[in-house]
C-alpha cells in the first residue's frame, strides 16, 4: 500500500499518512544525538560528535550554530556515509539568520525564540505542501533567551510542527536520553548553571562513548552570546 502513496509528497495515503514526511522523520532518527536543557539562567545544547576521518579537519563539522546573538540551534546530522542532510540544515540556518536580522530591522527588537521557531517551522511546512520538492530532513533544537530574559527551548521536526520543552533530545537513541531526562530533570538538578551543564553531559553519556572528544557542548547565559564549552576548567 505504501509503495503507491509515497512517491509524491503531496499525496495522502488512504489511512491519512504523508509518507514522505514520515520517511524524513526516519532520516532524522539516523542522525547523531543532540540534547537541549533549559535551566533557570542558562540554556545548554549538547551534540554527539561522530568520529571524523583522520585527514579531515575537525573544526569544519559544526552542528551547533548561532542564529543571532541570543538564539542558537542544534541539529543532528548523518554520518558522511549516507547523503548528508547537513546541507538541508545549512539552507534553513541561512534563512533563519536573515529573518532574525530582518526582524531586528523592521521591528527594532530582537526575535523571540518562539518567533524564529515558528518561522523555521513554517518554512519546513511549506516544503511538505508543494510539488517538486521534498521535506527538509532535519529536526532542530532551538534555544535562547527572549527580550525579557526568559529562557526557551523549542524543537521542530520535518513536518513543520514545533513544541516548547523543558529538556529534550533528538536523533539516534533519542528515546533513551529522553527517558533519562524525564527521570532526572528536577528543579534541584538545574539549580545552578553548572548543574544544568552536568545534566546535559550525563544525558548524552547515556548513549555516547565517554570522552570529551565525542561531545560538542554550547551554552547561552542570559545577556551573553553563545559560548562553546571545550574544557572542564570552563565549568
Amino acid at each position: 500500500m505504501a509503495a503507491r502513496y509515497d512517491r509524491a509528497i503531496t499525496v495522502f495515503s488512504p489511512d491519512g499518512h504523508l509518507f514522505q514526511v514520515e520517511y524524513a522523520q526516519e532520516a532524522v532518527k539516523k542522525g547523531s544525538t543532540a540534547v537541549g536543557i533549559r535551566g533557570k539562567d542558562i540554556v545548554v545544547l549538547g551534540v554527539e560528535k561522530k568520529s571524523v576521518a583522520k585527514l579531515q579537519e575537525e573544526r569544519t563539522v559544526r552542528k551547533i550554530c548561532a542564529l543571532d546573538e541570543h538564539v542558537c540551534m542544534a541539529f543532528p546530522n548523518q554520518s558522511t556515509v549516507f547523503i548528508s542532510l547537513t546541507a538541508d540544515a545549512r539552507i534553513v540556518i541561512n534563512r533563519a539568520r536573515v529573518e532574525c536580522q530582518s526582524h531586528r530591522l523592521t521591528v527594532e527588537d530582537p526575535v523571540t525564540v518562539e518567533y524564529i521557531t515558528r518561522y523555521i517551522a513554517t518554512l519546513k511546512q511549506r516544503y511538505t505542501q508543494s510539488n517538486g520538492r521534498r521535506p527538509f530532513g532535519i529536526s532542530a533544537l532551538i534555544v535562547g533567551f527572549d527580550y525579557d530574559g526568559t529562557p526557551r527551548l523549542y524543537q521542530t521536526d520535518p513536518s513543520g510542527t514545533y513544541h516548547a520543552w523543558k529538556a529534550n533530545a533528538i536523533g539516534r537513541s533519542a528515546k533513551t536520553v529522553r527517558e533519562f531526562l524525564e527521570k532526572n530533570y528536577t528543579d534541584e538538578a538545574i539549580a545552578s548553571d553548572n548543574d544544568a551543564i552536568k545534566l546535559a553531559i550525563k544525558a548524552l553519556l547515556e548513549v555516547v562513548q565517554s570522552g570529551g572528544k565525542n561531545i560538542e557542548l554550547a551554552v547561552i547565559r542570559r545577556n551573553q552570546p553563545l559560548k562553546f564549552v571545550t574544557s572542564p576548567s570552563e565549568l
Partner: protein, 271 residues
Amino acid sequence: MALLDVSGFSSFSGFGKHRQAQLVDRPNHYSFGAKSQEFAVPVGVDPSTFLKSCNCEDGVSIDMNHGTTTLAFKFRHGVIVAVDSRASAGSYIASKEANKVIEINPYLLGTMSGSAADCQYWERLLAKECRLYKLRNKQRISVSAASKLLSNMMLGYRGMGLSMGSMICGWDKKGPGLYYVDDNGTRLSGRMFSTGCGNSYAYGVVDSGYNEDMTVEEAYELGRRGIAHATHRDAYSGGVVNLYHMKEDGWIKVCKEDVSELIHRYRKGMF
C-alpha cells in the same frame, strides 16, 4: 521554481499581478508589508515624472495642500495628542468635523495630515497589520515597529505623489513612544512634533509653554492652546480641537472643544 525559492531570490520582473497576489495572500506574512506592494504600478507609467510635470510653472499646476494642524508632545505623565478638524479641498471647507486621529488600538494612536485619502487608507492598513501582529505574536506591537511599518509602506511609493504626515503615539514596554512618519519615508523619534500648514504657529505656542514636569491639566491646556492659536491664524485649520492623553494603561479622549469658543476664552490680552 523550487531552487529560486530555496535561495530566497525573487526575480524582479516588475509588479506583475500574479506575483503580487502570491505575496499578499500568503498567510505567513513575516515581511511586515515591506516586500509586497499594495498597488501595482502599471508598466510604462512613471508617476514621479508625471508629478514633476504638474508642478512646474508653465502648464497645469496641481497644488498639493496640507491643510491641517496636529501636534503631539511627551511629558512626564505620558503623551498629549491634539488635532484640529477642518478638511479643506482648496479654499472650500469640505468638513468642519473631520476625524484626524485614528485609534489603532487602546495603546496606539495615529494622527493624519496631508491628503485625507492617503492618510485614511494607509493608517487603516497599518491598523490591520498591527492587529495581525497581535494575533500572530500574542503581544501588542511596539510603537517603533508600528511606525517602521508605516514608513516602509511610504518608502515603497516614494516620489509617486503620496502626501501624508503622521505621528504615531503609544505606550509600550519601552515606555511612551512618539514617532513622526511622512510620505518621504522619514521616521523620527522625538519629544514634540507638529505637522500641517499650521504647525509653525503650534510650535511657537507649545515651545514657549512646555515644561517636562507639567501637571496633567497644564499639559491639556497647552495642547488646546497650540491648536487654537494655530487655527486662529491658519486659514486651512479650524473646527474643533480633539485632545487625547496617552497614559500607561491606554489613551483617553480628553475633550472636543470648538476653537472659536477657546479663542474667546483666551481673548484677554490678545487684542
